[in-house]
């Protein structure tokens, strides 16, 4: 393991200003963005220095709230408690904390704060002058809605937390800060509503995050892969979102959110299987419309996974199950195709995935060209050249498009689709049913942070199904998800009498 830089948590400041400055300069000797400005106070006796990294701070705040007051304030700070005097009588900043060790100082400087050193004091002051630029609030690309809030998180955890607080104006909202990553010291917030979240779950989550031993955390997924219970499972046991309204809704259901600095993606847990089929705007649209969408997503999941597999199984093993006219039509259209159904199907699936991935990453100006290539070449030329057959193309295209309806199950759908095709080509519908049974058993056996993954569809009654296969009107959504300790969401009319 490459050695870290020296551990400065046991290195303390001295009362000599020059020595303290020398320590900082030594640490940042290869960093030309470090700025040190020495300031003499008005009493002409005491000297201080402000240290910051250029580009990380807000110059106006620094100049107006720190430098000007220091230069112009006619305050006698005395011999002892200089830092406290300066902090309380001179400075105009909203947040000033003491930094006793060099490690504290470094953490502050590297996060955009300014360090104030005073001659004759072995304690530094960390001043809130953060001014690094962020992307600003914009609608998340992957979670667009037709109706509802359009704000999305950005890369600054503090601002994200602020956006969340605007949604939940309650002191019940807790945000515990942790730093993760030996070199990155990334700030991570664990957010939850104290009266709703499971304390044991919060405790275990904190423990897991604190145990993470990694160089740096750049995204939520780094943490997700460390903390989730079934690490090698395709099925997600932690939810992700870039929308503050979604995080707020999940916190109100008793879940926990993990905000990581440097990424707009927020983790929420526990995560249930039925959430894969929920759309963010289900709760903003009329419940009829939302219910149709929900139901459609379940159907699309089944189609996405099974359409090519069932087609391969029927044309290879179970020709008697095809209606006669359809069987003849398929036979006619497949005539002359040199590949077996399996190879043809896998070929089309991979081409579809290539087109999909290319569409995601390529420049927008080439989008038209790609759609023409995809449509004409794959759709028409390949069929006419009898490299692939039209029915297979339809089955794979249907499967591919259905898969796009459920973006949260992207990876699962792909692997399951390929596995289903392989198994169907070997064992027909029997193999397909066996694979689906194993998948269902797997889904039933997963837990997400102590909560049954299929808790919301455990019983076929209204209480369980009201927010799964359909979305009930809000007046019927009086209870939270069944795993929550505080299940009653709304006051019953009887209680008011």
């Amino acid at each position: 393991m490459a050695p870290l830089t020296k551990d400065y948590s046991s290195v303390y400041l001295t009362e000599n200003l020059d020595e303290n400055i020398k320590i900082i300069k030594e640490i940042f000797k290869k960093d030309s963005t470090l700025r040190i400005r020495r300031i003499k106070l008005k009493d002409n006796v005491n000297e201080c220095a402000i240290i910051y990294i250029d580009g990380m701070i807000n110059n106006e705040v620094l100049n107006d709230s720190v430098v000007r007051p220091l230069i112009t304030a006619a305050v006698d700070i005395g011999e002892k408690g200089k830092i406290e005097e300066i902090s309380s009588k001179i400075l105009f900043v909203n947040d000033a904390n003491k930094a006793k060790t060099v490690a504290d100082m470094l953490r502050a400087i590297l996060y955009g704060d300014t360090i104030l050193l005073v001659s004759g004091s072995s304690v530094a002051l960390s001043l809130n002058t953060k001014g690094w630029r962020t992307r600003g609030i914009s609608e998340p690309q992957e979670e667009r809605v037709l109706q509802g809030p359009r704000e999305g998180f950005d890369e600054a955890a503090m601002f994200n937390l602020a956006m969340l607080r605007r949604k939940l104006l309650t002191p019940d909202l807790c945000a515990e800060m942790l730093r993760v990553g030996r070199r990155s010291e990334t700030i991570v917030f664990i957010c939850y509503l104290e009266s709703l979240a499971d304390k044991q779950c919060v405790k275990e989550l904190k423990k897991k995050i604190e145990k993470i031993d990694i160089d740096g955390i750049l995204d939520t997924n780094y943490i997700a892969e460390y903390i989730r219970p079934h690490r090698f499972s395709l099925l997600k046991t932690t939810g992700t979102t870039e929308r503050p309204d979604v995080v707020a809704a999940r916190l109100l259901e008793g879940r926990i959110a993990v905000i990581v600095d440097g990424t707009p993606v927020v983790l929420t847990l526990p995560y249930l299987f039925s959430e894969n089929f929920q759309s963010d705007e289900d709760y903003y649209l009329n419940f009829f419309v939302a219910s149709v969408g929900r139901f459609l997503r379940f159907v699309c999941f089944f189609l996405a996974v099974s359409a090519p597999a069932i087609f391969v199984a029927l044309t290879t093993f179970h020709k008697q199950l095809l209606p006669t006219s359809f069987a003849l039509s398929v036979a006619q259209l497949r005539g002359g195709v040199p590949f077996s159904a399996l190879i043809e199907c896998l070929l089309l699936i991979f081409v579809f995935e290539i087109l999909k991935e290319t569409g995601l990453r390529m420049p927008q100006s080439l989008g038209h060209a790609l759609s023409i290539v995809g449509g004409l070449v794959v759709g028409q030329a390949a069929v006419e050249a009898r490299i692939v057959s039209a029915p297979m193309l339809i089955a794979v295209a249907l499967s591919g498009i259905s898969g796009l309806m459920i973006p949260r199950l992207k990876g699962v759908v792909f692997y399951l689709r390929v596995a289903a095709v392989l198994v169907s080509s070997l064992l027909g519908l029997y193999g397909f049913i066996a694979l689906m049974s194993i998948f269902v058993v797997r889904v039933f056996s997963i837990k997400s942070f102590g909560v049954d993954y299929t808790a919301s569809i455990r019983n076929p009654d209204f209480e369980h199904l009201k927010d799964t296969f359909f979305r009930a009107p809000w007046e019927y959504m009086k209870t939270r998800p069944v795993f929550n300790k505080n299940i009653i969401r709304a006051r019953d009319e009887k209680d008011e009498d």
Partner: protein, 285 residues
């Protein structure tokens, strides 16, 4: 207030699926005649009475460490093992003749065994949830097939031609009891071992549900083919479903029914293995 996990419904459906299991593949049996349906009904009620008694008995008793009971458990293990092998062999035979005639029975059996082992290694709540999931689908399919076949039914196929002879009736009851209802107490034993007690209400309701959803395929086959033809066929219900036509010419619905057989037998064998595990545990203790 946290919602408690209540598995009563799941237990009922597990019992129903267990009742359906192999019976749905072979019902009616080779000895079918016009008394078959009456024999089935009578066998059902006899079995219901017996099961109510067995459930009460199991709830009052606990597993014992005495030598005599250990021998009894050994005998039960052998019986359950026999039932496992019988069910497994029947399902593999069915699958290799009807579902996948072009693939060797070994592969079919091996794949099924893998599925059974995978399910068996999971917690008992998983099999309960899977039973609920399976039963809902199986029930819907059975009802759909029953309705779709209705235009071809001939009511006279289930009329009793004469007042049944006692011996004829007894033989029909015997076949139904042995072939369908006899292994059922194993489910109650499984519940006792895995959950700690036998949920009487859920078990009896499940048994009744299983009986009803077994009567439907039986009626389906009898009304369509008659007792004589049904008795000649190896797998009457599968043959009956293969004749269902929806629309012009041939529109075969068999494919949908494969899940019925697979799920029912999977649940049954998993429960049987679970019972063996429980009995072994009590022999060792």
């Amino acid at each position: 207030m946290k919602a408690k996990t209540n598995y009563s419904l799941h237990i009922a459906f597990l019992t129903a699926v267990f009742t359906l299991s192999n019976a749905i593949i072979t019902l009616p049996f080779n000895s079918a005649d016009d008394k078959t349906f009456l024999g089935f009904i009578l066998a059902f009620f006899i079995s219901l009475a017996a099961n109510v008694f067995i459930v009460s008995f199991l709830n009052k008793r606990d597993f014992s460490n005495k030598i005599f009971f250990k021998f009894l458990y050994c005998a039960l293990i052998l019986l359950v093992l026999f039932e496992v092998l019988r069910s497994f062999a029947l399902f593999v035979k069915f699958a290799s003749e009807i579902i996948l005639p072009s693939v060797s029975a070994f592969i079919i059996g091996a794949v099924f065994l893998l599925c059974v082992i995978y399910t068996f290694l999971k917690h008992n709540s998983v099999i309960l949830k899977f039973s609920l999931f399976s039963f809902l689908i199986v029930a819907i399919l059975i009802i759909i097939f029953f309705i779709l076949s209705s235009k071809e039914y001939r009511a006279e196929n289930i009329f009793l031609l004469s007042f049944p002879d006692i011996s004829e009736l007894v033989s029909q009851i015997y076949y139904c009891l042995i072939g369908i209802f006899l292994p059922l107490p194993i489910v109650f034993l499984w519940q006792k071992g895995e959950i700690g007690e036998v949920n009487k209400k859920a078990s009896i309701i499940g048994f009744c549900l299983g009986g009803i959803f077994l009567a439907l395929p039986l009626l389906n086959t009898l009304l369509l083919f008659g007792a004589e033809v049904s008795g000649e066929l190896s797998f009457p219900y599968a043959s009956a479903i293969s004749t269902v036509t929806v629309g012009y010419l041939f529109s075969r619905m068999d494919g949908f029914s494969y899940f019925i057989y697979f799920a029912c037998v999977l649940v049954k064998i998993t429960v049987l293995l679970g019972t063996i595990k429980t009995l072994i545990k009590h022999i060792k203790s």
